[in-house]
Amino acid sequence: VRDRCSFPRSIIATSRGWCVDPAKAREWIGGNIGNVTTAAPNRKARCALHLAFTCEGLRKLGVSDKVLGDFSLEFTGGMVDPNRSRRLGDVEANDPKNWQWGVPGKSYPDVVILVYAAKEEFDAWDAKVKGGLWGTAFREIYSLSTVRTDDLEPFGFVDGVSQPTLDWDRSKPVKAQNTTEYTNLSALGEFLLGYPNEYGRYTDRPLLDAGDKRARVLPLAEDVPGKRDFGRNGTYLVLRDLRQDVSGFKTFVDDRSDHDQEKAHVLASAMAGRVPADQHIIPPWPKEPPLVKEPPWPKGTPPWHAPGAVDNPKWVIPPGAPVMPLCRNAIDGVGPKLKDAWLDQFTFENDPDGTACPFGGHIRRANPRNADLPEGTRGWIGRLLRTLGFASRHAHDDLLSSTRFHRILRRGRAYLAEEDKEASHERGLRFIALNASLSRQFEFVQTSWIVNSKFEGVDEDDPLIGGRTKLMTGARVDKFTRPQDSGLECRVHDLPQFVTVRGGAYFFMPGLSALRYIADL
């Protein structure tokens, strides 16, 4: 969790298993606690292991219904449920009935183990982790391999850029209210149970009586005296397999740009909100961004002009950068690395019309980067008027929820499923997200932002990962609008579906003490 660059060359195999022998399974877990990767920074680590369980899995392992009942409804209910599927956009082609795994009663997992290691060491680590017991304790449903792609996802964009920084020192004010600046620094409780979240409160999780003998391995709850915290240092893990139609995407972008390479890059950049990892594009905003003169970084060549054009600078947006001018001021939780600032130091405040980054652009949907009150709200009178709904400067001012309550930690891992006979060369992403509240974080982002065909007043779903599900009225949402400075419309119609959900489930990733508790049951 702590350091995303620990495993630059890792490959991961994610195994989903059915627990067939609970006693053996507990023994296996007990034997592996020492192997589980902790949050302690360790730059030398060359392998990692994480264990996470579905509600069913925990039940089979002997966790009592009383304890399970204290988990959130989303976790106990599971990802696959007709109402939830409707909200998450898991309908039509994404319908769980077509999934490779995660279908209740058929391929619903009890446990997922995430095994990471440098390529040459993977087999040895995998064997060590699984040991002799794995085969008798679990039956593997599906083994999900991944490929090393240097942080690129299959469409060719840099993945995993916008990540919240965790406030490990708990230095953030507990009850920050009505913030007026976007922050990338998240309260620990947004991602780990047992700590205060952005509301300054503790998210519900199972708490056991301190008198319970077995519970002695668990730490005391910070917020409720006399209780032991089963959730402490644990979190919910969302796993979704997303198949990406790479050739379909490239063909589409190419076709809609009259086979003009430069135009194609611009269209692809607008759809993602970021420039493809191997391209430059001319910025869609007319003037040179002010920060070029005063870059937020002290030294080094800003990557704003095209290679070989130093004498006659032609301003471009470099690979992987957002199609938004960067902010002059540092953003809490972005950096300190220069590269992070290039990729992440921006908000959409200067782009209320969506002429730089379209409203529908993927990164704008996934993280609208706003604050509690619109940026620029000043003084107590200003705040008061804004709170009362007045002094709005733009029709879009209050449309979106404050992002600090809706962040997720993402770990996408690309895969190339050559071994799949039905769909040879299937490519895609294993979407992994961590959050302390499934409903307020993952589900909110997915439902209200990503698949919402009314996001920021548009009439379309996400250009990259939308399912193109028509509205109840039959209105189509397979469009993509790029507002132009000229005011003239620029709309692409008939977007095909590029991303299909192939499997998924909600897991609980326990902390070490909870693992010990489970192993001792």
Binding site: D204, L388, F390, D398, S401, F444, L471, T473, G487, L488
Partner: protein
């Protein structure tokens, strides 16, 4: 402008009739969409009236009454009731007559109300409805004066303009150089198709007068103290010059400033409020009773807030799923909650005053597309039932329920505390507007626990959010303006 009205018919259900009634109500819905009414259903074909914005039938059965037992109070008993709510254009009397005159709707309503106590085959439908009609303590209308017809016309207009613009840009590759020409073309296009533009009806004079008189209550109250000062000011005119005039000037400046960034009604209230400062400078003794009342109120309030028991059960999966079945089929959702008012005279009086203020604010200040920072509510009603011992709240909002709740907590948590803090089972508040909803998880539990299923829900414009409606109106208004700056034209074209 045609103002919107509502009817709320509320009556107890005959014992044992609930099952049949549920089945009957279900027959009004679209087969694939639980809870979503067929606009042309056999019982009450809402779609045929052309004026109905939203309508719903709800069986009111509060499942949180047991909360009283959790805090050691006797559990009250209420009969299970049926509520029929309808928001429409025009006056309530006209609409009820239309309902009764429509043979199909009249027969359907008779069939439905036959499950209610006191409705006999020989009953006069209109009379019975009027007998069982209650008026919401506070109705909220997103945009007073926007009719169903206008909504549909403006949506059509925008679609037509969009098509025309696409075609025009195709035919004129350099259209961007002459942005005024593009607008002129669209204006001409609209004039050639006058049926695209909505025709607005004159405002009923009676409604207009009543509305202004209602608004005048607060300004008059704020101005009344000055009546006592008239004599003094005549005798000592220098007071007028040196005390009143500077504040008067300030009030005028504030009024003009606020009129630009808020609403004129709000600006007037603030300006008149400011004028109380010089009054109290001249007559400081008047502050004594005022302060005394405030202190007594504050002490009482805090005492109640601190000592009232708080018991909030966790929501159950079963209840959550039953409600979720009815949600997220369209871009807009329904919401019905029922709860009890905290059992003390203090709370009841406070709640009534708060509801009056809410009504006043919704009617005169927040009637142009936003309720404080929330732009996603179409219609909402706070309705006292059972002699003000219980409250029924209904709303029609855009987006999913979680978004609605989170939006509320973060943007108007204070407002939620204000209007719901007097309910049993609401998270503890502090000074009426603080805490409460900020206790996110308990608030969400409380909220879901109090929510009940809406058996039949009708809406006139599926697929359109309140933002869409406001945007479509902006597009139409932009078309009707005589002149626009180029930057404005560009912004307008982007919205088309």
């Amino acid at each position: 402008m045609t103002p919107q009205s509502n009817i709320v018919i509320h009556a107890p259900i005959r014992p044992g009739a609930r099952g049949d009634l549920e089945k009957l109500l279900e027959s009004m819905n679209l087969p694939a969409y639980p809870g979503m009414a067929d606009p042309n259903n056999d019982l009450v074909p809402f779609g045929t009236f052309g004026v109905v914005h939203f309508a719903r039938f709800v069986i009111v059965d509060d499942n949180t009454l047991k909360d009283f037992a959790l805090v050691g109070l006797p559990v009250p008993e209420y009969p299970i009731t049926l509520a029929f709510l309808c928001d429409f254009d025009g006056s309530a009397n006209e609409f009820m007559t239309d309902l009764v005159d429509n043979a199909k709707a009249a027969a359907g309503l008779r069939k439905i109300f036959a499950h209610c106590l006191g409705f006999e085959p020989g009953s006069d439908l209109l009379v019975w409805m009027k007998q069982h009609r209650i008026r919401p303590a506070a109705p909220y209308v997103n945009w007073i004066g926007r009719t169903v017809l206008q909504v549909h016309k403006e949506a059509e207009l925008r679609a037509a303009l969009q098509n025309e613009l696409t075609q025009y840009v195709k035919d004129h590759p350099n259209a961007g150089d002459d942005i005024r020409g593009v607008r002129n073309h669209l204006v001409r296009f609209a004039h050639e198709n006058p049926n695209l533009l909505p025709v607005s009806a004159p405002t009923p004079i009676g409604w207009w007068i009543c509305n202004w008189l209602h608004f005048a209550i607060i300004p008059v109250l704020l101005a009344v103290p000055w009546l006592f000062a008239v004599d003094d000011l005549i005798v000592r005119p220098w007071l007028l010059t040196f005390v009143v005039a500077p504040f008067g000037l300030l009030a005028i400046v504030v009024f003009i400033w606020l009129t630009c960034i808020a609403t004129a009604t709000f600006a007037l209230l603030i300006a008149l409020g400011l004028m109380l400062i010089p009054f109290f400078i001249l007559y400081p003794l008047w502050l004594i009773p005022l302060l005394a009342v405030t202190v007594i109120f504050a002490v009482l309030l805090r005492w109640y807030e601190k000592t009232e028991p708080e018991a909030i059960a966790r929501q159950t999966a079963e209840h959550d799923n039953a409600l979720a079945d009815l949600e997220d089929h369209d871009v807009t959702n329904q919401f019905t909650v029922v709860g009890s008012v905290k059992p003390s005279t203090f709370r009841l009086v406070l709640f009534v005053v708060i509801m009056w203020a809410t009504n006043y604010g919704a009617r005169h200040i927040y009637n142009r597309g936003y309720l404080t920072r929330i732009q996603t509510i179409h219609f909402a009603h706070w309705i006292f039932i059972n002699d003000k011992r219980r409250m029924l709240f209904v709303s029609n909002y855009d987006g999913s329920r979680h978004a609605y709740m989170d939006d509320f907590i973060n943007k108007v948590g204070w407002g939620l505390n204000f209007v719901f803090g007097s309910g049993v089972g609401y998270p503890r508040t502090r000074w009426i507007i603080f805490d409460g909803a900020k206790n996110e998880l308990r608030f969400k539990d409380s909220n879901r626990n109090h929510q009940i299923a809406t058996q039949v829900w009708y809406r006139a414009y599926p697929g359109l959010t309140a933002f869409d409606l406001a945007r479509n109106t902006r597009v139409r208004k932009g078309l009707q303006r005589r002149w626009m700056r180029k930057a404005k034209i560009r912004a307008w074209l982007r919205e088309v």
